[in-house]
């Protein structure tokens, strides 16, 4: 049968072959919906009330991305040279994907931490970035020693710092994209002047964590401005209000800062002319908001024990999962189970058993949600306790103060904002591009109406959760 099939495929029309060879259709012009999200985590450490005043210098500079970029064969002197590069790029990509799979399959960090930080939102919107939390904690593990480090490694599911190096590199490289649909991550460590540091650890931060290390007079208004500028620069100014409130207390000796800026357009656009004003059943009573509507989307509908879900694809950077709790259930019920995260990360067995190809009528509110706060208590729930305890915190490998007063963490501040809308839309600029496919419509139709509190997760193409949030009041 094999040979007959091989011959039979030779009768497929040329236009289909040309289409397939061309690959995925390039970006569609003009208007489409957009998602933009930013986050900053700042971890502050102090030793208690010592005055300081110094200048800022660069201790280590973040490594440039080591991901080999795509190149065309005509950029090489010979085919052999191109082939060698192609093989190298392929092998690098395979190693990276294997390490990311290990993180997603071997650790409960993403689901455990998301549950802790999003549960109990009451009537408020709540958002956090799992991947940014992961990277921020990985940096913290690099600077910590003894049980302080071990607790973080345990929480992240890494058996050693060497394993964590491989994994954090892979996660960073998998997510990072500074192209048209950016997902840019930036990390930095700020050292107070007078602090002696281990250069090898600073170099590890620069290489494995893609972090820059600065030294200056922490607590001075000048360094505050420098840090605010760094945060604003790496979040495209979208967290301006929160960032401008970031001031380091005088007693700060170390500050870790980690940011992610993400923006991507929908693959299939919402037509703003189809928007409606309707009621959203918020916990504190109905509110009127703008809903975006899309009819007869052909796609997969997913379900778990307490929710239904759909996934909307984004150009270049993965997708947005929307989880609607079943009637009588709440978002906290969804968060309490790990099903939703396992679906995102691809660790939930055979998709045939929890998804069905259907026709979906989607109604979802436009939203712009943000939250900020201290993650300290949540991290302690995850078992990371020593770094917050002045008597147990161990940062002696990384830094030494002349006074020998122990360094410990005082706070882990986070600010996140996620917008989902049809950015820059004008009806005159809207061009609807009909789908080129003509698949037979599925027999079943489902109305998926997000008119009550729901959970969303933005994930990259590997299944790494970039942002997760609860929308109680769009």
């Amino acid at each position: 049968m094999r040979e007959k099939l091989a011959d039979a495929l030779g009768y497929i029309r040329d236009s289909f072959i040309a289409e397939a060879a061309q690959g995925r259709k390039k970006r569609r012009p003009l208007w489409v919906g957009a998602v933009a999200a930013v986050l900053a985590v700042v971890i502050l450490m102090n030793w208690g009330g010592l005055p300081m005043a110094v200048q800022a210098t660069v201790v280590a500079e973040a490594s440039a991305s080591r991901v080999l970029e795509f190149k065309r064969s005509n950029q090489f002197a010979s085919d052999d040279e191109w082939w060698e590069y192609y093989e190298l790029r392929l092998s690098q990509s395979e190693d990276r994907e294997a390490a990311v799979d290990e993180v997603l399959a071997g650790s409960d960090f993403f689901s455990d931490a998301t549950n802790i930080f999003l549960c109990g939102s009451g009537s408020e919107n709540r958002v956090w970035s799992p991947v940014n939390g992961y990277i921020g904690l990985a940096m913290l593990a690099e600077t910590a020693g003894g049980s302080s480090r071990q607790q973080i490694l345990d929480a992240l599911g890494a058996d050693s710092i060497e394993t964590l190096h491989t994994q954090v590199c892979a996660v960073w490289e998998s997510c990072y994209d500074d192209g048209n649909n950016p997902c840019t991550l930036a990390n930095s460590l700020w050292l107070d002047e007078g602090l002696e540091y281990d250069q090898q650890i600073m170099d590890n931060l620069a290489y494995y964590h893609y972090a820059s290390v600065y030294q200056g007079n922490l607590g001075s208004s000048r360094t505050d401005r420098a840090m605010q500028a760094w945060l604003n620069n790496n979040t495209a100014g979208m967290l301006n209000d929160s960032v401008n409130k970031v001031t380091l207390p005088d007693d700060t000796v170390l500050a870790l800062a980690s940011t992610i800026y993400f923006q991507a357009k929908w693959v299939d656009e919402f037509n703003p002319l189809n928007n409606t004003q309707d009621s959203f059943h918020a916990p504190d009573g109905d509110i009127t908001c703008t809903f975006m509507n899309k009819e007869k989307i052909q796609g997969y509908y997913y379900w778990g024990d307490s929710f239904g879900a759909v996934k909307l694809n984004l150009k270049g950077n993965g997708c947005v999962w929307l989880f609607l709790p079943d009637e009588g259930k709440a978002v906290d019920d969804v968060l309490a189970e790990e099903q939703y995260m396992d679906m995102i990360t691809g660790n939930y067995g055979d998709p045939e058993s929890y998804s069905k190809y259907m026709m979906i009528n989607l109604t979802m509110p436009k939203f712009d949600v943000g939250s900020s706060g201290d993650l300290k208590e949540g991290l302690q729930e995850l078992g990371i306790t020593d770094v917050f305890d002045i008597g147990r915190a161990d940062f002696t490998q990384a830094v030494q103060s002349k006074t020998n007063v122990p360094v410990h963490i005082t706070s882990v501040n986070q600010a996140v904002r996620v917008q989902v809308d049809e950015q820059g839309v004008k009806a005159a600029a809207y061009i609807e591009i009909p789908g080129a496919g003509a698949a037979a419509p599925p027999e079943e139709i489902i109305d998926f109406v997000l008119d009550r509190p729901f959970l969303f997760v933005i994930a990259d193409y590997s299944g790494i959760p970039l942002f997760a949030g609860v929308v109680n009041e769009p």
Partner: protein, 185 residues
């Protein structure tokens, strides 16, 4: 370079027609041949044979789209070489993809009762009814012999999602073949 210009060069018997073909189609041709043959040397020779075959066919042919014709020619050349290399070990990857596809043929007796042309035309009609992305993913796997990993990368999907999608399309193809009367009596 636009297809019409390349065809123009072939009609003029201009020497740079071959380099224009290589520049536009060389990379994918090479990967197609490598997927089928599993040997870089054989793939290189097949790609060169393909350029020669296209040179000989145009004129008089004026294929549109040119890409489809060039890849069809390349695939035929690769299959020809594969079958002539009887002593050579078959390429597992390509055979695996065909075995995968053979699983959705409703009955073994069809091998005897249906001609390749007829079967190909039914599959073509089935693909016409598929969404564009499904059609592309299907052809990338079973026509070009691309690995699931490469397809996942090209389409921004997880490997698991590609495998599931392919499995669904194969299931639909099987249903379609049965509906059209292509099954064992």
């Amino acid at each position: 370079m636009e297809d019409s210009k390349i065809i123009g060069l072939l009609f003029e018997r201009a020497e740079n027609a071959i380099s224009a073909l290589a520049e536009k189609f060389g990379r994918r041709l090479r990967s197609l041949a490598l997927n089928i043959l599993g040997s870089i040397r054989d793939a290189e020779e097949t790609v060169n044979d393909t350029y020669l075959a296209v040179w000989n066919a145009i004129p008089p042919k004026q294929p549109d789209p040119l890409a489809g014709f060039v890849y069809q020619t390349g695939r035929n050349q690769a299959l020809k070489r594969l079958r002539s290399n009887t002593a050579q070990k078959r390429n597992g990857t390509y055979d695996l993809s065909l075995d995968e596809l053979a699983g959705c043929i409703p009955g073994p007796a069809l091998e005897e009762t249906v001609e390749a042309r007829e079967l190909g035309q039914v599959i073509d009609r089935f693909l016409e009814g598929q969404a564009r992305e499904n059609r592309m993913i299907f052809l990338r796997r079973y026509w070009f012999g691309d690995s699931v990993r490469d397809i996942a990368r090209a389409f921004g999907m997880k490997e698991n999602a590609v495998s599931v999608r392919l499995s669904r399309i194969r299931g639909q193809l099987k249903d379609y073949l049965i509906k059209e009367g292509y099954h064992d009596a």
